[in-house]
């Protein structure tokens, strides 16, 4: 691990000021950052601890809810307001990591989780465009079981652009289905970023995971008024039953009017560089009867254009079937 200075900030302004030096990083729970620092993937020269800056509250706001950036994943998952109105978010959070890690990990840190691509996480592999832009992609011809099938940049293993990494978060998938907004603050002021514009596809800059600008601090995540409190489901498929990253996950929320779907929220995890949110699929669900035919049509639309590789081709059909399954469970209203 490279040496770094450590400063504990007491307010967002102090954190932003302290975070100005080049090479500084904000420290939340550290479950991902410290891990990557041990492996030399992340090498910040300064850490600014943002766990004590008064952003640890979950509160009702503007008909929805405002979640402080440093709220721990376990506290968020168990908050009465979230369990009651946004069970999809609770369920997604509780499907992630372990009890120990959820006690450490924060809302903002979870938003900023980096990919678990083996080649990104191991500096012994020289080719990784996310870690070293221009170095190539070892995953595309390597062991790519956990990699992307949608929205990836695929110009060949030697290309300086190629990246088929996935976003590993469960929480993020639920936030896409729920239509969250990320509030950020910097020395230049505050701005709000719709969740769909927060994370990036690799495009021509695979080294960039998000559209956060240098010096910006995440202060909160807000959710609009709850539509899916009664009919939602988070379905995670993984290589073991607990404590593993998703091969595919589905966050499904339905606003029901009898047996008819009034509106829907749908996002897929484990398939792309960011949670895959398909407006086409959501539109195809709205106004339709909640049945297998409707759900399969939405699944086909959500996964349209998917392209797999040697070890992850299975994800495409796996995702479709689990979209149908998640929507089916959501429609039954298990949480009602």
């Amino acid at each position: 691990m490279n040496p770094f200075s450590y400063k504990r900030a007491s307010t967002p302004d102090a954190a932003i000021h302290a975070g100005m030096p080049h090479g500084a990083k904000f420290l939340g729970g550290g479950t991902n950052l410290v891990d990557l620092m041990k492996d030399g993937v992340e090498r910040p020269t300064a850490l600014v601890d943002v766990n004590h800056i008064g952003l640890d509250r979950v509160e009702a706001a503007d008909g929805g809810v405002r979640i402080g950036a440093s709220v721990k994943n376990s506290d968020l998952a168990n908050h009465p307001l979230i369990v009651r109105d946004y069970p999809l978010l609770s369920q997604a959070l509780l499907n992630g990591a372990s009890a120990q890690l959820r006690n450490m990990a924060t809302t903002a840190g979870n938003l900023l989780q980096r990919t678990r691509c083996y080649y990104f996480m191991d500096t012994a592999f020289p080719a990784c465009n996310k870690r070293e832009p221009g170095s190539g992609c070892a995953a595309i011809k390597g062991f790519n079981r956990i990699h992307a099938v949608l929205g990836q940049t695929d110009e060949g293993a030697a290309s300086g652009l190629t990246c088929i990494a996935t976003n590993p978060s469960d929480m993020n998938v639920a936030l896409y289905a729920l239509g969250a907004t990320v509030e950020v603050q910097s020395a230049k002021g505050k701005r709000s970023i719709p969740i769909g514009e927060f994370h990036r596809l690799p495009g021509t800059t695979p080294e960039m995971d998000t559209n956060l600008r240098p010096g910006e601090l995440i202060t909160a995540v807000t959710l609009p008024a709850a539509r899916f409190a009664k009919n939602s489901w988070y379905l995670k498929v993984r290589d073991r039953q607990s404590y593993a990253f998703a091969l595919v996950s589905v966050a499904a929320g339905l606003e029901m009017d009898g047996d008819t779907i009034k509106s829907a929220g749908l996002a897929i995890g484990g398939v792309a560089h960011k949670p895959w949110h398909s407006a086409d699929a959501e539109h195809a669900l709205a106004g339709r009867p909640a049945n297998a035919e409707t759900f399969r049509k939405a699944a086909e639309l959500a996964m349209a254009g998917a392209k797999g590789y040697e070890h992850n081709n299975f994800k495409i059909e796996l995702a479709k079937q689990n979209i149908v399954r998640a929507l089916t469970v959501a429609a039954k209203g298990v949480q009602a």
Partner: protein
């Protein structure tokens, strides 16, 4: 050589026992060894020394941590994890290093009563919190209920993961009392006060891996403690 070798404990609260004097001596020796590491090419520690040289040297901080209800003043490299501090400098070797990446749970300790992975916790971030390790839960002759239950149900084989399992279970019991949920609570539709079934126990304990496979007995111990039903 891990960063913890650059630690030296300062102002020990009570150096009363021969053991603590020994710890203090060892800390001094550990700190001294760093000085030679830079020139002793080929010895462990060279990597750290080079690293430090390139980036301008380690950042040392004086911190006070409350560990098992005792204030400990230490001067540490900011890179030091809580686990390394406990084991290498404070001689609290009950917490174990398994994977050092938050994947096995052997390093589990309680911070303000909540279970966390001490291997991913930078020690400097734990200032102001109450840290409880396996040494703080009980002692021979005065075992905690969790320790006694693991003994009664033979919830271990080699014992390496056991301190982490016991710390984790200690926190789990409080989580259950607070009505906290798990992913299984949703699957079984029991989000309003989940019954602690074996399914729940396995999910809630999944952050603690046991390579011997003592799981059935660990589950039995936790079941007894939580009043769960198989």
């Amino acid at each position: 050589m891990s960063p913890c070798t650059e630690i030296e404990e300062i102002e020990p609260e009570e150096i009363s026992s021969p053991l603590e004097k020994e710890i203090s001596r060892r800390s001094f020796l550990a700190a001294s060894s760093v000085i030679s590491a830079g020139i002793a090419v080929g010895l462990p520690g060279t990597l750290i020394a080079e690293d430090a040289h390139v980036a301008g040297g380690p950042h040392m901080m004086d911190v006070t941590l409350s560990i098992n209800n005792q204030a400990r003043h230490v001067s540490i490299d900011t890179r030091t994890t809580l686990l390394d501090l406990l084991r290498e400098n404070l001689d609290l070797t009950g917490s174990k290093k398994g994977c050092d990446h938050g994947q096995c749970g052997a390093c589990t300790v309680l911070v303000d009563g909540r279970r966390v992975n001490s291997c991913l916790t930078l020690a400097v971030t734990a200032q102001g919190a109450e840290i409880t390790t396996i040494e703080g839960l009980g002692a021979p002759g005065s075992l905690s209920a969790v320790q006694a239950a693991f003994l009664e149900h033979d919830g271990f084989q080699c014992g390496y993961c056991t301190p982490g399992q016991i710390c984790s279970t200690t926190a789990l019991i409080e989580e259950v009392k607070r009505g906290e949920l798990s992913a299984v609570s949703f699957e079984t539709g029991s989000t309003a006060g989940p019954a602690i079934t074996d399914h729940e126990i396995k999910e809630r304990m999944s952050g603690n891996v046991c390579r011997c496979g003592a799981y059935p007995n660990i589950v039995a111990a936790v079941r007894m403690l939580t009043g769960g039903v198989a």
